[in-house]
């Protein structure tokens, strides 16, 4: 696997929000789902923005895994407990129930084995939070339909041959995976293109069409 390029995908996705000095909306939504003082593992933590938000606003005991050296070194220099590692291979080393939350922010679609990663997350943590870009968004559907080419959007600007996102899914697909793995969806939030939350009492197909990003809070099914 390309060890270097993956974070650039995340940085690219986050670039617009960061340059304006604001935290990414999906990170804020994620942080709202975390209980104060919790033990948190952020898988694919990038430059540590979410961990920093969580440490400052929720007083969590936060740890991170990041694949890029630049990201890790930035995080450690910020005083965050982050190690260089890979979601696909390094989650296996963590013991069961080591964390209250395991977070995978904008990284699921870049893993080799999303299902295995998801299973590990809910083994290591009692809850998991997953955010990902929705490939079922109407703009993406329209672009594919109208031009017959792999769609590129502001949030997903890479060409198909250059992207780290090898396992795109839609909100519906992800919900199906949750059912198949047997995890419980506690909360799900869909964000529109402007970062606003979509209304709660709408059917899934509506979210799947108009949600540009989704954030899921999951727990083990009892």
């Amino acid at each position: 696997m390309n060890m270097q390029a993956r974070p650039q995908r995340e940085l690219a996705a986050a670039g617009a929000a960061r340059s304006s000095g604001q935290a990414r909306v999906d990170l804020l939504v994620v942080s709202q789902m975390v209980e104060p003082g919790a033990r948190v593992l952020d898988v694919g933590c990038g430059d540590g923005e979410l961990l920093k938000i969580l440490t400052e606003t929720k007083n969590v005991d936060g740890r991170g895994i990041e694949i890029s050296r630049e990201g890790v070194n930035l995080c450690v220099a910020k005083g965050l407990a982050v190690i260089q590692g890979d979601a696909d291979t390094d989650l296996a080393d963590y013991p069961d129930d080591a964390f209250d939350y395991v977070i995978l922010s904008q990284t699921l679609q870049a893993t080799w084995q999303p299902r295995v990663v998801l299973e590990h997350m809910l083994r290591i943590g009692s809850r998991a939070i997953v955010s990902f870009p929705n490939f079922g968004h109407w703009k993406i559907r329209l672009k594919l339909l109208a031009f017959g080419r792999m769609p590129r959007t502001t949030n997903l600007p890479d060409t198909w041959y250059n992207t780290q996102n090898i396992h795109f899914c839609t909100i519906r697909d992800f919900r199906d995976l949750c059912n198949e793995v047997g995890v419980k969806i506690e909360t799900a939030v869909a964000l529109n293109a402007w970062g606003g939350r979509l209304r709660l009492n709408v059917p899934w197909w509506f979210w799947n069409l108009f949600g540009e990003q989704a954030v899921f809070l999951l727990s083990r099914r009892r």
Partner: protein
Amino acid sequence: MAEAELQSTPVTRAREADIPRESLLVRFGPDRPLKLDSGIEFSPFQVAYKTYGRLNAARSNAVMICHALTGDQHVASVHPVTGKNGWWETMVGPGKPIDTERYFVICSNVVGGCMGSSGPSSIDPKTGNPFGLSFPVITIRDMVRAQAMLLDHLGIDTLFAVAGGSMGGMQVLQWAESFPERVFCALPIACATRHSAQNIAFHEVGRQAVMADPEWRGGRYLIEGTDPRRGLAVARMGAHITYLSDAALHRKFGRKFQDRSNPTFSFDADFEVESYLRYQGSSFVERFDANSYLYLTRAMDYFDIAAEHDGVLASAFKHTPTRFCVVSFTSDWLFPTSESRAIVHALNAASARVSFAEIVTDKGHDAFLLDEPELFAIIRGFLDGAARARGLQDLR
């Protein structure tokens, strides 16, 4: 190597071993023996050390620096023998990542060394002669035990941090394993939890070089007035290669000739790299004791933390309260990143709070001693974060 260069200077090192210059000294009498892994209760013994900065009122800002194989206590001040700057002046000092304006830095010479802590060149009070090979074999854990006794002597209960690279990193890991409650954070750099077969093999070549020197005299050279400097120099030359990377050697020397444009068709130091290694060897013997080299390489060879925990490394750090910052270097083939990763995996499995960074450099194992801005940023950031968590007030 020029013959004349190596045959001069009578041995004066015994003095430095017994009365170290520019150092503090603590002597432990028969009432406080050093309990060695070999089962021996070694006594009396002494530890030479240096301190930098001020201990705060709460005694909570102490940082222990553990030196590497051929290092010593002169971490951030001029070396009394060589006149050179301290070996980690880039890292330790006022305003440096390990900031002596904030932290009280302690660095002691390891037992078995030759810069004032008891070692094979120290005088055996029973005979009045240097110990030589009658000095007991020591381990990394023994070194750490002696450091803990020094800490007791200084009245310091808990260290804010323990830091060190290579053999120093081994001591850091041993500190965390032996005294988890006394170590708030640990920075093992460019090291491993055990010496590999390759590591042991390189050390054995070095030891054999020393012992093959006829002047070694079965380790009795200080008594017989000889000096195994050629053997020790060869050992150092061989070891020095392992501290560098192929790329660094190539960048520094390539195939360049030394002060000549053509080969001499002899065994002179035609190449710059040869000349460099000879210099490294001959300057090393001016400050280091051959028997100490045997003892300290042996201590590293015996190091294997997991072995004491049925081979399960994670058990060594179970429930550890210590925060770890593990650092490795891409071109370090003596203690490669995979070794550091093994430490990180074990610490993860033990649910320890661990940071791990691999730094891109072509400088090899020695990178931890060199000017590596990324390393400085990481250590500074890690210590800042830990100091906040520890509630350390800024002394400035």
